[in-house]
């Protein structure tokens, strides 16, 4: 039996949509690029090995939220791309024909340490209760969420943020800053607002995570037990 000692990154994306039977949602023709460029660069640099959860109609919320499989379990990080939106303050990732609410299910005890949602509106930091859905239940493994506190541009050139992020991780930059820098470095118009969210056992713990923790540091962190503190960095 082959056992990988490398961290595992799990990828999935949606480029076109039949969500709730609607075919008019804007296509994200290049949504595959950011996760794939991330994986290509990360694997090339020996940072992790990658698994692909699928594309478009292959990617089902049931395979993440526990109704069917739990695809995020057993991985160290996930990188998913599609449409994103907030509903009642909770983030939904819209897949080809489905929606997944990762704050409610699927990033649980067996899940990844880092989750990247390359999609619009992971949070709205202007909402004073933005962290409530993420605080509502303990996810022992999850230490960092990366995404956008704004709409997100999905474009051939903008997708290079995926490659940039892996490159920055491999040269030892702290994860939160690496994500923010990678997005801003491929922001053509200055309107992207990347965000990093840290989960810690205290304010100091979460702040240290957002300030200092490298990829290896985050993967080595012990599971959280209780009283999870949620902090953000922009």
């Amino acid at each position: 039996m082959y056992v990988s000692l490398m961290p595992i990154a799990h990828l999935a994306w949606a480029t076109f949509f039949r969500w709730r039977g609607m075919t008019w949602l804007p296509r994200l023709a290049y949504a595959y690029r950011a996760p794939m460029l991330f994986a290509g660069e990360g694997v090339r640099r020996g940072l992790f090995s990658g698994t692909v959860g699928g594309a478009d109609e292959q990617v089902l919320a049931a395979d993440y939220d526990g109704r069917g499989d739990r695809n995020a379990d057993g991985t160290d990080m996930i990188y998913m791309a599609g449409h994103g939106r907030l509903r009642s303050g909770e983030f939904e990732l819209l897949l080809h024909s489905d929606e997944w609410r990762p704050a409610s299910s699927g990033l649980d005890a067996g899940g990844p340490k880092i989750a990247i949602f390359d999609a619009c509106d992971l949070v709205d930091l202007q909402d004073p209760r933005w962290s409530d859905p993420w605080r509502a239940q303990i996810r022992p493994n999850l230490r960092m969420l990366l995404g956008f506190n704004s709409l997100a541009t999905v474009k051939k050139g903008a997708a290079l943020r995926g490659e940039e992020f892996a490159s920055r991780l491999s040269r030892g930059e702290p994860v939160a800053g690496a994500w923010i820098g990678a997005v801003k470095q491929h922001d053509a118009h200055g309107r992207e607002r990347p965000v990093a969210i840290g989960f810690g056992s205290s304010v100091a713990d979460a702040d240290r995570l957002l300030e200092n923790a490298t990829f290896a540091d985050v993967l080595a962190m012990p599971p959280l037990e209780s009283d999870v503190v949620v902090r953000e960095r922009v």
Binding site: W24, P26, R85, A152, K156, G181, E211, R233, V234
Partner: protein, 249 residues
């Protein structure tokens, strides 16, 4: 970027082009021999090393360089007067432009940036490149410099009318915001770019309406060449950013 009414784009474009002649494009170079011919010290990595900075990576194809500067992340980089001035000097050595520190946007605290503009053509450099991005770490700033040296100018045949019509790109949505800018487009450090050319850049945004159960927010970015250049396709210099209308519909 200027915020526009959806029906104003044509008028806005006309105002931009009617009062001036079409500006040139510039061939770009990163080659040491051409740079020396131009009297420059060398590519960004050489200039940075000669300034005593630790270069982490240098991309031979784009000339982009990543380096670090020690510092406390609790303070904005521009407060470090010595390094701030030195960085502006380094940028000027790589390509003679007007460089300036930008104010962080509201809600951003991790990044600082130097941006640029071309004095002789009175246009800003827009796009992901054309400056230095500094991301604060615990005890240092991670810096990414993406400034390409200009070589020969290429004079255009004239302005090119943008094909962009926001009423088409906005799909069925009425509730959209449109932003426009005109400037030289410099690509990111991960892209090979051989031509710095003037472009029109438009952004269309639709914020999801929380009252509409099936509404979804989106942003579209349209980059179009602003001038006609003989023997060059409209994609030249903006390969990763120019997508003819219809490609994404």
């Amino acid at each position: 970027m200027d915020e526009l009414e959806i029906g104003q784009v044509e008028e806005w474009t006309h105002e931009r082009v009617s009062s001036r002649s079409a500006p040139p494009a510039y061939e770009l170079t990163g080659s040491r021999s051409q740079l020396r011919e131009m009297g420059r010290v060398g590519p960004a990595a050489d200039v940075l090393r000669e300034s005593g900075l630790e270069v982490l990576e240098f991309d031979e194809r784009s000339g982009a360089a990543s380096f670090t500067i020690p510092g406390e992340s609790s303070r904005m980089f521009a407060e470090y007067g010595g390094y701030g001035d030195r960085l502006l000097w380094i940028c000027e050595e790589i390509d003679a432009r007007e460089y300036y520190w930008t104010e962080p946007s509201e809600g951003e605290s991790s990044v600082s940036a130097i941006r640029s503009g071309l004095r002789e053509d009175d246009l800003p450099v827009i796009g992901p490149g054309g400056g230095v991005l500094l991301t604060s770490g615990a005890d240092r700033f991670y810096c990414d410099l993406t400034i390409r040296s200009r070589f020969e100018p290429r004079f255009p045949e004239g302005w090119r009318q943008p094909l962009f019509d926001p009423r088409v790109w906005a799909l069925e949505e009425i509730d959209v915001r449109v932003f426009g800018s005109l400037g030289y487009f410099e690509a990111s450090g991960r892209e090979v770019q051989e031509l710095l050319r003037p472009v029109f850049m438009f952004v269309i945004e639709h914020e999801a309406d929380l009252e509409r159960e099936s509404d979804v927010g989106w942003r579209r970015l349209i980059v179009e060449p602003a001038t006609e250049l003989a023997d060059l396709p409209p994609t030249a210099g903006i390969e990763q950013w120019y997508e003819p209308e219809g490609e994404l519909r």
